[in-house]
């Protein structure tokens, strides 16, 4: 099975390379894998995720996502790559002036799908995350758990190659968290989508032996 993400000698740093967060990391993630990356606060989990969706360029080494080397990727190529990613944030990052349905189909809108396709997908996805009746509401009218379900629906809307999730249940109660984990696990198993979750602690509901990396002392190590 081919690698969707491959890091070789990866160093991530801020302040023009002077403040390194991740140093000389090597790992690879295959298509359809569900992977956890954990670590204490400030260890560089979110920094790694930013690098994975091209917001932060590697200082040294290579980071290849979906066949694109993010060290020297052009802006149009990066935009294209991002349309094949589903990104889930701890603070949801929904557009509050848009309806729930419009938020869900943002990736389709960017890809230029027709309004008809967008409407159909919005209905299907909102039904999938059990928010069908909230399609015309605005994000701030929903609870935190519901907003994150909108975020998951948005991430799934264009059948992404990879889903990157940054503490997706960090602001949610146990019930809402379990709903979100179920949705992500289903996406991985049914759509063969690679899911990479950055979190400070692996939730107890996971019984399957998913791969687990830990960020420690600026290195990334696989836990066996």
């Amino acid at each position: 099975m081919s690698n969707v993400i491959q890091a070789s000698g990866l160093t991530l740093a801020y302040d023009n390379g002077t403040k390194s967060i991740i140093q000389d990391a090597n790992f690879s993630i295959k298509k359809g894998e569900f992977v956890f990356i954990t670590g204490p606060s400030g260890s560089g989990k979110s920094t790694l995720l930013k690098a994975l969706y091209g917001q932060l360029k590697p200082s040294t080494g290579t980071l290849v996502v979906g066949g694109n080397n993010l060290s020297n990727i052009s802006r149009p190529k990066l935009q294209e790559l991002r349309t094949h990613m589903g990104i889930i944030f701890q603070d949801y990052k929904l557009v509050n002036e848009w309806t729930v349905a419009k938020n869900v189909v943002l990736p389709l809108m960017i890809a230029g799908y027709s309004n008809e396709v967008q409407d159909t997908q919005a209905r299907r996805l909102l039904k999938h995350v059990k928010l069908a009746e909230h399609a015309d509401k605005y994000p701030l009218e929903l609870s935190g758990g519901e907003q994150q379900r909108v975020g998951v629906a948005r991430a799934l809307s264009k059948n992404p190659v990879v889903i990157l999730a940054d503490e997706p249940t960090g602001n949610l109660d146990d019930y809402s968290s379990n709903v979100i984990w179920d949705l992500m696990e289903n996406a991985c198993q049914q759509l063969d989508t690679t899911v990479l979750v950055v979190t400070h602690k692996i939730p107890t509901i996971f019984s399957l032996p998913y791969r687990h990396f830990i960020i420690e002392n600026r290195g990334i190590y696989e836990v066996h």
């Binding site: 935009q79 790559l81 991002r82 990613m85 990104i87 557009v95 848009w98 943002l106 960017i110």
Partner: protein, 270 residues
């Protein structure tokens, strides 16, 4: 976007368009007025011998007309009651008088140059430029023009600053949405599409408002103003082509303004 945000963009844009239209109208009106002044203005030349237009044109290229003042008419005014022979003697002794017309409304220094050139010719006895009235007219005119241009420039600069400030507000209002769209791979034009739509709409509104104001000035206020120069020049107060000039100017301003927002937002994620 709230109506007040539109208004905060439309008003300074209208101020710039008003300044531009006032400038255009003033230029056209003053050009007409200058033409009238030029047509009415004459230099009086007294010569020893009859002279042709070509002679004057060889001396200065601004001279375009010469009208000889009838000497017999002058003599008939002064020789009333005297004999025909004496009248003929006066006529023979009388020099030749010419009214000289110029091609443009020249500055006083230029008029003075023409006077010196003419006076240096030995056929010409005397030149009268009526410099003081010409000079005072021209200086007053130039002064009004300068004041208006400075005022328009000042208003434009202040309005541009207001527009830039409003753009800052737009930038913060749209920053989060644009960042989210960028994260999901939206190209710049899609991210900033809503800003362009809003700005184009505001540009249309501002153009319409300024056009309506000038239509009112042209068709209602001008004829009732009683100001001779305005009544005479009513046709140049506002022309159909001005709507296009205003609209294109408004569009250029909004495009520059939106691009400034878009490019300043781009750095947020980087």
């Amino acid at each position: 976007m709230k109506f007040i945000n539109h208004l905060m963009f439309i008003l300074p844009l209208m101020a710039i368009l008003l300044g531009l239209e006032f400038y255009l109208v003033f230029e056209r009106t003053t050009n007409n007025y200058e033409t009238t002044l030029t047509e009415d203005y004459r230099i009086l030349v007294v010569s020893k011998t009859p002279l042709e237009l070509e002679f004057f044109q060889d001396l200065n290229e601004h001279i375009i007309t010469t009208i000889e003042i009838e000497r017999k008419g002058i003599v008939s005014n002064v020789a009333e009651g005297i004999s025909k022979d004496n009248a003929n003697a006066i006529l023979n002794a009388l020099p030749y008088f010419y009214n000289i017309g110029l091609d443009a409304y020249l500055e006083t220094s230029e008029i003075e140059k023409i006077k010196q050139t003419l006076e240096s010719n030995h056929y010409i006895k005397r030149v009268e430029t009526f410099g003081s009235s010409h000079s005072s007219n021209y200086k007053l005119f130039s002064f009004i023009k300068l004041i208006l241009e400075v005022f328009i420039l000042f208003m434009t600069v202040v309005s541009l600053f207001l527009i830039m400030k409003q753009m800052e507000i737009w930038k913060y209002a749209h920053k989060e949405r644009m960042q989210i769209m960028e994260t999901f791979g939206a190209p710049m034009m899609l991210r900033s599409g809503v800003l362009f739509r809003v700005a184009f709409f505001d540009a249309i509104i501002a153009t319409i408002c300024v056009s309506i104001l000038f239509f009112y000035i042209k068709y209602s206020w001008a004829s009732q103003s009683g100001i001779d120069m305005i009544v005479k020049n009513r046709d140049v107060l506002f022309q159909a082509s001005d709507i296009m000039v205003l609209f294109i100017s408004a569009i250029v301003i909004v495009i520059l303004a939106v691009y400034s927002v878009v490019f300043s937002s781009k750095g947020v994620e980087d």
